[in-house]
């Protein structure tokens, strides 16, 4: 392999990829990056054995080829090189020579065939989507994922595409659930995948950095994101996701509508004296108002009223305040609708005027 690349874009791409590499892998080759030069393109690949990312740069190639090289060393070297000079990479037996201006380095390499690389695409269906929007959707659901490794299926986010609902993202930790959906203007086939937590975060990162559309592909054993020069492939969680449709209450008789920001502020204040581990607060719904109250074991208390559009019967429900605040910060609209039945049944929180996003929170018995 023998190539020449502009230093600035090369650094960007190396940086993007080296983030994913396991810094302390016991196996040397797994802390390497794969460089593959062919068809006037340099592809840089990194993997942590669960997620693979790759970046492509158009460059001038003297000799095609592929090789792996330490991610950290390559990054640290390129970072320090002269900003305006080009970087020349050339393999020589089992070493790689890096030249830029008057600097010259020789790094050891390992053969590309031993490197996992990025597997071939094996997905059922792809959609095009605005990157920024996908990032927002992820942000509005990912907080509900569980961290309990014994229930692996809850530690990811379900990505689901269907002709009826379009794209939906669903996450739950067994106590609450977040569902965000958007209708699509393309013809789609039904497909779904549970994307692991780490991949969700990486997808969000790439989407945020991308201007314009990304391509999201879902398959039985793979999720894939193509965003301009970058692409990501990840394993998915091979398990059954809870039937989320059953969990969403459809006939909650009472509804209160409240200002989102005010409600959030009140909760934030009240939680100062709530139990600092369970964050339990009580919401007392009565005519045109909600009373938020909290107290802790030291007998400290907080109480505050907020006006709300509510005309139903008096109901008092205990919550984990954290869960409510998570929802309030994920919702976009000025006001939110809180639908409920009694103090022990699931509570549904919706945006004002839209049913696309649904948040279900289970009450707490205090």
């Amino acid at each position: 392999m023998h190539i020449t690349v502009p230093r600035t874009s090369f650094l960007q791409h190396v940086q993007r990829c080296q983030n994913i590499v396991e810094k302390r892998s016991p196996n040397a080759i797994l802390s390497n990056l794969l460089l593959r030069a062919s068809n006037e393109t340099l592809e840089i690949v990194a993997t942590d054995l669960q997620i693979g990312v790759s970046s492509k740069v158009h460059i001038h190639i003297q000799d095609e080829g592929e090789i792996t090289i330490s991610a950290k060393k390559l990054f640290d070297i390129v970072k320090e090189l002269d900003v305006d000079s080009d970087v020349e990479l050339k393999t020589e037996s089992s070493f790689m020579e890096i030249k830029s201006g008057r600097s010259k380095f020789r790094l050891s390499t390992l053969p590309a065939i031993d490197y996992p690389g990025i597997p071939e695409q094996d997905t059922d269906f792809s959609i095009q989507f605005e990157g920024k929007d996908l990032a927002t959707m992820i942000g509005a659901t990912s907080f509900s994922m569980s961290t309990d490794e014994t229930r692996k299926y809850l530690t990811g986010t379900l990505f689901e595409i269907s002709p009826e609902q379009g794209l939906q993202l669903i996450a739950t930790d067994g106590h609450r659930m977040a569902l965000v959906g958007t209708l699509l203007d393309q013809n789609v086939e039904a497909c779904r995948a549970i994307v692991p937590r780490k991949a969700v975060a990486e997808i969000k990162k790439i989407c945020e950095e991308t201007q314009g559309q990304v391509t999201l592909s879902l398959g039985k054993r793979q999720v894939r994101l193509d965003a301009g020069e970058h692409s990501l492939t990840s394993k998915v969680i091979d398990a059954k996701f809870p039937v989320y449709q059953d969990v969403i209450p459809s006939d909650n008789p009472e509804e209160a509508v409240v200002d989102r920001i005010r409600m959030d502020q009140i909760l934030r204040r009240s939680m100062i004296v709530a139990n600092e581990f369970t964050h339990d607060v009580r919401l007392q719904f009565s005519n045109n108002s909600i009373q938020v109250s909290a107290h802790n074991t030291e007998q400290e208390q907080a109480e505050e009223f907020v006006e709300a559009d509510y005309t139903g019967k008096d109901v008092s429900i205990g919550f984990n305040g954290r869960y409510l605040r998570d929802v309030l910060s994920a919702v976009q609209t000025e006001r939110v609708r809180i639908q409920f039945k009694d103090e022990l049944s699931p509570v549904l929180i919706l945006e004002d005027g839209s049913d696309a996003s649904k948040y279900v929170v289970m009450p707490m018995r205090i």
Binding site: R151, H175, T278, T297, M362, P363, I366
Partner: protein, 610 residues
């Protein structure tokens, strides 16, 4: 009772007593003879051993002694002055009751006894060589003197089974230690091959004797705790949680004045220390239990080292309660051990200090050799003016000589903990703080972990547990036996904020979990909870045992990690929070949370003071 204090046990009583040889090694001979002496009201006993007891064991006391007739009777099987009816068996107040000790010993050795009854003008000397009894009159004396020569001479098999002299001597010392603690007022002396090994003075109080036996370092690193629990009186000398040992050898249990080695008792003691000590370390403690003899069967083990309690649960609960109360009180005291170790580590480069391993004294670090003989002999032999003693006295203010007589002096409850003003954070792991009399080093993670844990625990103790209802109930199939048990007790789990629904014969769905632990795996949490309940019942102890363990995990996860930078205000806040927190001296894995170095320590480190 008549002049003849010793009877032959009626056959039916003798038969009730478990058969078995008492004499298995020299230490058991020493034990039997000492117990006889104590029963005879001796105030001072001297034991002389030659060749680890194989050659000679001599026990001399100043007790009541025996008449010639008694003495002769004592050498017959099942003679005892203590029990004569079955009822008496249930009220064993004195040590030996089996009455077979002397004849057993006499049957495997050459036996010599000189004694005379108190106040009498004639004495007697008995010799028994392999069953041949020979009696002759002798001059009167105060008390009894027994010599056991050539032990096991006629049973070479036993002799073969003897361990090395060192081991046998250690066993004898162990026996003496136990009896010394049981009888603080009695003077005990031990000579091994003519060298003085132990000497405990007459008329000590309990705390004084405990410290004499456990070593002076124990004085500053332990507290005394007494409680009564369901008719069981416990007086305990509990080592600080940070003053631990690598095995169980430094725990001593006395039940009604008898040294007992019992797994249940060890387990109970460890349970008491559970959340303040490393799981693979063992507490150092002396626990004395007094209870109605009716409630304890001493007749299980021929050497009486094991007992059976009528209500093991009550005994366990009593010990746990006692330790908990003690730990609560020591709350904020860190043992001097870490400081010790710190100093030791630094001393290696300093010629001004004797090498800790030289044997002239012993700092007895946690990994040090057993019940260090150095520590004990230092105390016993009166060789206290060593450098080491001075040093320790200076450093830790735990006066050694005085501590034997004024137990309280060696221990000081730090009612108000003052950790001083934080100066800096070291390597994002430790906080350096200046206190009134020196510096304090604080492990930020350990400290914060304990703070979190204590907070959670207090919520557990005080409040009703908040219950987080599940959105998607978890399925749980525990198997038939547990399911059957649960269908009888399902309601009780409600107190743990766990709501179970039986779905089929052997499976359940978990509908709610304690909100405090809502991030944990519901199935594992409930399974463990049920396990614990089945094992130990539903009392509050069981509940907190399980929940506390999980809280410990959470506290660890939720705490400030080592390696996090803290602003000086945060450091200060952490220190103040620590001062308010009970049990702050160690994190819930038993590591110390802070170490003090006084100005004195620092001066010594730099050789400014001797």
């Amino acid at each position: 009772m008549s002049d003849q204090l010793i009877h032959i046990l009626p056959a039916h009583v003798a038969n009730q007593i478990a058969a078995g040889e008492v004499v298995e090694r020299p230490a058991s001979v020493v034990k039997e003879l000492l117990e006889n002496s104590l029963d005879a009201g001796a105030k001072s006993i001297t034991v002389r051993i030659a060749e680890a007891g194989k050659k000679r064991i001599e026990v001399e006391d100043n007790g009541y002694g025996m008449s010639a007739a008694d003495a002769e009777l004592a050498l017959k099987r099942h003679a005892t002055s203590k029990i004569s009816t079955t009822e008496d068996l249930h009220h064993i107040a004195s040590h030996g009751f089996r009455g077979e000790a002397l004849p057993s010993i006499a049957s495997v050795s050459r036996f010599r006894m000189q004694t005379s009854l108190q106040g009498s003008h004639e004495g007697v000397e008995l010799r028994m060589d392999l069953g041949e009894l020979e009696t002759r009159p002798a001059a009167p004396r105060k008390g009894t003197r027994i010599e056991v020569l050539d032990l096991f001479l006629n049973t070479p098999a036993r002799l073969n089974f003897m361990r090395t002299d060192k081991t046998e001597e250690a066993a004898i010392i162990e026996v003496m230690r136990g009896l010394a603690i049981c009888n603080p007022a009695v003077a005990l002396n031990l000579e091994l091959d003519g060298r003085k090994r132990l000497s405990f003075t007459e008329g000590q109080n309990e705390r004084g004797r405990v410290i004499a036996v456990m070593g002076s370092e124990f004085a500053g690193n332990s507290i005394e705790q007494r409680i009564e629990h369901e008719g069981i009186q416990i007086s305990a000398h509990l080592g600080l949680p940070t003053y631990h040992h690598r095995d169980t050898s430094r725990m001593l249990f006395l039940v009604n004045g008898r040294v007992i080695r019992d797994k249940q008792l060890i387990a109970a003691l460890r349970a008491g220390y559970r959340d303040v000590m490393f799981h693979d370390r063992y507490p150092v403690a002396v626990i004395r239990l007094e209870m109605d003899p009716v409630n304890v069967d001493v007749n299980v083990h021929p050497a009486k080292r094991e007992v059976r309690f009528k209500s093991p649960q009550a005994v366990r609960a009593a010990i746990v309660a006692c330790v908990r109360a003690g730990v609560e009180r020591m709350g904020q005291t860190v043992s001097s051990m870490p400081t010790d170790q710190a100093l030791q580590a630094m001393q290696k480069t300093s010629p001004a200090f004797p090498d800790a391993a030289s044997g002239s004294f012993s700092y007895q670090s946690g990994s040090g050799a057993g019940f260090s003989s150095g520590g004990r002999s230092k105390f016993a032999s009166g060789a206290r003016s060593s450098n080491a003693a001075d040093l320790q006295h200076l450093l830790f203010g735990a006066p050694m000589r005085e501590s034997a007589h004024e137990p309280e002096a060696g221990y000081e409850i730090q009612g108000t903990l003052n950790l001083g003003t934080p100066l800096a954070q070291i390597h994002s792991c430790y906080i350096l703080s200046q206190s009134e009399d020196g510096v304090v080093l604080i492990d930020q993670h350990a400290a914060h972990e304990r703070i979190t844990y204590e907070k959670m625990k207090s919520q557990l103790d005080r409040g009703q547990l908040a219950e987080q209802i599940m959105l998607t109930p978890e399925k749980w199939s525990p198997g038939l036996s547990i399911a059957a048990w649960l269908s009888d007790h399902a309601e009780t789990l409600k107190t743990f904020a766990v709501d179970l629904d039986q779905t089929t014969e052997e499976s359940f769905s978990i509908r709610s979990v304690p909100a405090l632990l809502s991030g944990e795996s519901p199935v594992e949490l409930v399974a463990e909870l049920v396990d614990a309940c089945m094992l130990i019942g539903f009392e509050a102890e069981g509940r907190s045992r399980v929940l506390e363990r999980w809280l410990g995990n959470r506290a660890c996860k939720g705490s400030i990690k080592a390696g996090r930078m803290l602003a000086i205000e945060d450091q200060d806040a952490l220190l103040r929070e620590m001062e308010r927190t009970p049990n702050i001296a160690q994190c819930n894995h038993g590591r110390p949370t802070y170490v003090r170095l006084s100005l004195n320590d620092l001066d010594r480190l730099f050789g400014r003071k001797e």
